[in-house]
């Protein structure tokens, strides 16, 4: 089991994994990783390993859920049984049902749902390994998967958390910090529209601390956004290079 470390922040102000208070964990993003899906993305953030895949627009199932003026955006956040220290039952927990809802609501403002009436779009998220901040990493990957599927979007959505650990506001909490720390504030942002599409918090913060945490999380979002854009470009750069090579042969 996890032993509680004595100090989460050392004398130099460095955290358990050597990060500064406003430093992100290494983020790796890849687009187009599931060949069967209409769009997909993979994210590694710290030890988080998460896959997101989009299927649709496709026929609504069950049929009575169809909407006449827009597509039905569905979202399923799911953790693999082996993704955490103690095996998680594969049946959806109440936490997973809640997260599926808030993740869907964080993505929906970015999607032109009115372009595809009487259809549905499925967003499936599988957490293969969890290391704190899975809902944020899931949103970052799911937005990329949506973009990869070619569904028109107003903006990308990118998410990052800030929190409070031993009286310091820190960015991008890892598992231990999340469990032992005193507050966690996940935030999702549409960076070009400057719109917050997910906001949650647990723990105890004064309004000033909350403001600092939100601003820090927003800065984190903007940094991840740069990586997100790069990942999207990379996929299509690779495709165009492949085409060029083929043409040369």
């Amino acid at each position: 089991m996890n032993d509680k470390p004595e100090k989460l922040i050392d004398k130099k102000g460095l955290r358990l994994d050597g990060r500064k208070s406003d430093e992100l964990r290494p983020v790796k993003l890849e687009v187009g990783v599931i060949s069967n899906a209409d769009g997909s993305a993979y994210i590694e953030q710290g030890k988080n390993k998460i896959l997101a895949a989009v299927y649709g627009p496709r026929e609504v199932h069950p049929k009575h859920l169809a909407l006449q003026d827009r597509t039905v955006l569905k979202c399923r956040y799911h953790m693999a049984p082996f993704s955490v220290q103690e095996r998680k039952s594969p049946a959806p927990s109440r936490r997973e049902i809640e997260l599926s809802k808030v993740i869907r609501e964080s993505l929906e403002p970015a999607v032109f749902t009115e372009y595809y009436p009487r259809t549905m779009v499925d967003v499936f998220i599988e957490v293969l390994q969890a290391d704190g901040g899975t809902r944020c990493a899931s949103i970052t990957a799911a937005a990329l998967a949506l973009a990869d599927s070619g569904i028109p979007m107003r903006d990308l959505v990118v998410a990052c958390a800030a929190g409070k650990v031993e009286n310091t506001i820190v960015l991008d909490l890892m598992d231990t910090e999340d469990k032992v720390g005193s507050a966690d504030v996940p935030v999702a942002l549409m960076p070009n529209l400057n719109a917050v599409t997910l906001l949650q918090m647990d723990g105890i913060l004064s309004r000033e601390e909350f403001e600092t945490a939100v601003n820090m999380a927003l800065e984190g979002c903007k940094k991840i956004y740069a990586i997100q854009k790069e990942a999207l470009k990379t996929k299509y750069m690779n495709i165009s290079e492949e085409i060029k090579e083929e043409a040369e042969e």
Binding site: R94, R95, I97, E98, S100, K101, V102, R104, E105, E108, P109, V185, M190, L193, N194, A195, V196, T197, L198, L199, Q200, M201, D202, G203, I204, L205, S206, R207, F210, E211, V214, N215, L218
Partner: protein, 263 residues
């Protein structure tokens, strides 16, 4: 099943709010009339009913004994469940809890848990083996908007009204003694929901206002004006400055409600 609201009504609400007025004549940062009654269910260890305008929620508390969670052997257990009974709205159907009721239950749970409202360390009978489990059951009886605040307030009122049986341990067995003790409550979180309609922020949205709102933010505020839990909901967004404005509104409203309820 989503409820349908006519375009005319949607337009009317949006136009009113843009002029800083509301369907029922309230100002934007006003709550509806609030009535709380405690101890309405004698069979329950604690109970309360809230009327928030026409929204009605009953919360019953039952206390049982059971095993603590392995990672918190020295704490009692809190369990919150919410039922959107089919009595309460044409949109509610019988069946297992859907995402809406799970979300309400988890917001109520987070407010109570994160503010450390219940002194769970006092609910231990035998560390690691036997503790009291506090079951908070939220029962929505009529839905006219803002179920989150109504449920959270009723849950707190019911917990404040909860009595636990006295007991003693004889040869490893729990023996109930006559008399009652109050459930140990340390903090009194108050949850305030702010809805965004157009570019305006309102508190305590009516059902019809919820049907046209862009999004909502619920914040649980404790007696030190600290925020202990937040949940954004709805398929719209807030601008960062609106988030901070909502936090200020929630702080002010929580203070007012706290004064009125004397919590």
């Amino acid at each position: 099943m989503a409820q349908i609201i006519t375009r005319v009504k949607q337009k009317q609400i949006a136009e009113l709010i843009a002029k800083e007025k509301r369907l029922d004549g309230r100002d934007l940062p006003d709550y509806r009339e609030m009535k709380i009654e405690q101890g309405i269910i004698e069979r329950a260890e604690g109970s309360a009913r809230i009327l928030l305008g026409k929204t009605e929620v009953v919360v019953g508390i039952k206390i049982e004994t059971g095993e603590p969670f392995p990672d918190t052997p020295n704490e009692g257990v809190l369990t919150v469940n919410a039922e959107l009974t089919p009595i309460a709205s044409p949109a509610f159907e019988p069946g297992p809890p859907g995402e809406e009721s799970i979300e309400i239950a988890r917001i109520v749970d987070r407010g109570i848990r994160e503010s450390r409202a219940i002194d769970t360390e006092k609910l231990v009978i035998e560390p690691g083996k036997k503790v009291f489990i506090v079951f908070v059951d939220v029962y929505v009886l009529n839905h006219d908007g803002n179920l989150i605040d109504a449920s959270a307030l009723a849950a707190m009122a019911a917990l404040l009204n909860t009595k636990m049986a006295n007991y003693e341990i004889k040869e490893g067995e729990i023996k109930i003694k006559p008399g009652y003790e109050k459930l140990p409550i340390k903090r009194h979180p108050i949850t305030v929901t702010v809805a965004k309609i157009g570019n305006k922020l309102v508190v305590d949205p009516l059902l019809e206002e919820e049907q046209v709102m862009d999004a909502r933010i619920s914040m649980a505020i404790d007696e030190d004006a600290h925020i202990c839990a937040i949940q954004k909901g709805g398929s719209g967004y807030f601008e960062p400055n609106e988030v901070l404005e909502a936090a200020k509104m929630a702080e002010t409203k929580a203070k007012e409600i706290r004064k009125k309820l004397n919590w």
